[in-house]
Symmetry: C2
Subunit: 332 residues, 2 copies
């Protein structure tokens, strides 16, 4: 068995073999192993549910692959609701001819990332489509988890709150762009694809009063902050020099005429916290490898209501706009 | 706006317009309307979770379309676990250039089918992939629901139990085959695509002791019964003349050399019930339009352990085998 055949999606013997040899091998747990069409789980109280289909191109990139991304992305959406990732479903759409070894690598990354979230896949589905009906592999992951930190709201940010990022920004977008366009830059840049629940858990346990939190995916930092400014009727003011951006990302932005604030992150969040908690939050996050460049990057006031504003090093201000159109299809 | 553009999947303004004008228009509810990356729901007790990606070709068929199928299929998987469909997620992968009017039709069917299940979509995702990276549209739906009838098990069927089907079999498979292969048969045949929760709810309320229940999708009736016979270590014996098969399906099977028992259903289930309840179950189902041809089709004994067996009208017996390979890719 070297590559995926149509019969692997037929629901018969070959599907059974694929499930046993590859999916159960990686995702094995008591519930999934029963291979029912639906799986039971216990819940008690307020839960969160989220879904994403992943179509990233290329499927393998530096810092991750579509499988790792599919677990990180969905678990991160739960974490951003204050929910502890719990039960995950996965639906594969695989193009006929896709390599079995590549599938194994993808599935192994998913398994590793699930462990970091202490989450399990309890139900799944595999469809194989004929050549030319998909591009290699698409993965849908849907997650449910218990909400353990309630009261987060993008409309609850007030004057005096502080804006904090968990790490340097724009790395996923910059890296995928460079890979896709075949730009020959000698660079150590890789995607920031990583799971955020460990950092969120750490902040909750440190007693940080988080008002709003969001991973800066499609549309980057600017999309999140513009939405928050509008929904909370406030002005979010960033100090450009405080925003952590890696040298490689800056270089790519200069070369291609992008702004790092518009580039997608896949393992970096921005949050609004109570003023007194900002430094404590940064300190807590810096103790973890996923928050190594955490920083306070701005404040909330009422100067330009519903706007996000950048203050440059020399004191000038400019509106941080929302990216228009598509910077890059199939970024996630 | 006539067709889907790449920017509809970019997460920016066009995505917002697509979500508002099409998805919220059809699926509107208090939770979804907040458009968070994850949505809250309340749960208490034993829940079920299921996922399926739908890639059916053609997207529109007689009796339904990919949207109706995506809600029926996922809600049916919950119903087959004794779970009341509750909260659904949907993830769209749309090929650039897909028609907006067609998308609206699909989404409207989804909305109608959700109502039949008393279920709601609370979270969603849209990806647009460049032309040639998908075939029109793929939909993942993942559902969670409370298990209200517990104890169903494909390994708990015993001698003396009766086998019952909810309606005539093989219609989805036969219809899709005829459409796909462009076979010119004058026929009223259509897919049996429909939601099964209303029938299951009715059986539970009638106090029927259901041992096992399964919708006969990929692999048809024979796949389900073979699995049950193996898992329960019993012989499932069907009387061929009792199995409801529409004239059109029989005709297509004769023409193409298929067996109706191998053809997929998308709104028909088979169940094993306590002997005393079989007639009552059939009567209850026949009172509903979705169970109009419900029938007792067989019994459970121990003559050929782990096998499903067909008894013909003249008394001969033959093993009902499992379909090998792929009868038809992209059937669901």
């Amino acid at each position: 068995m070297k590559e995926i055949l149509l019969e692997h999606g037929g629901g018969g013997e070959s599907t059974g073999k694929l499930i046993n040899d590859i999916f159960l091998e990686a995702f094995s747990n008591e519930t999934l192993n029963k291979l029912e069409d639906a799986s039971p789980f216990f819940a008690d109280g307020k839960m969160a549910m989220t879904t994403d289909s992943y179509t990233v191109n290329p499927v393998f990139f530096s810092g991750g692959n579509i499988g790792k991304l599919s677990i990180c992305g969905t678990c991160n959406d739960l974490a951003m609701m204050g929910a502890k990732p719990g039960y995950i479903s996965c639906g594969f759409i695989i193009e006929e001819g896709f390599g079995i070894d590549e599938l194994k690598t993808i599935v192994k990354s998913m398994s590793e990332e699930l462990k970091k979230n202490n989450a399990v896949i309890i139900t799944g589905d595999t469809k194989v489509v004929p050549r030319g009906n998909a591009d290699k592999i698409y993965i849908n992951t849907t997650g449910v988890g218990e909400i353990v930190y309630d009261g987060l709201s993008s409309s609850g940010i007030g004057e005096g709150d502080m804006i904090v990022v968990s790490n340097s920004i724009g790395e996923h977008g910059a890296h995928i762009f460079v890979m896709r366009e075949g730009i020959n830059i000698k660079s150590d840049l890789k995607s920031d694809c990583r799971s955020l629940w460990p950092l969120v858990d750490l902040l909750i346990k440190a007693g940080i009063r988080i008002k709003a939190i969001r991973d800066a995916t499609r549309g980057g930092l600017s999309a999140v902050l513009n939405e928050w400014a509008r929904q909370s009727n406030v002005c979010i003011k960033l100090k450009e020099e405080l925003i952590p951006v890696k040298r490689e990302v800056k270089g790519i932005c200069e070369l291609l005429g992008f702004e790092p604030y518009h580039l997608a992150c896949e393992g970096t969040f921005v949050m609004a916290v109570d003023r007194e908690d900002a430094d404590k939050a940064v300190e807590a996050m810096r103790s973890h490898e996923y928050g190594s460049n955490a920083a306070v990057i701005g404040t909330v006031d009422s100067e330009f209501i519903s706007k996000a504003v950048l203050e440059t090093g020399i004191g000038t201000k400019r509106i941080l706009d929302i990216p228009a159109g598509v910077l890059l299809p199939r970024i996630c």
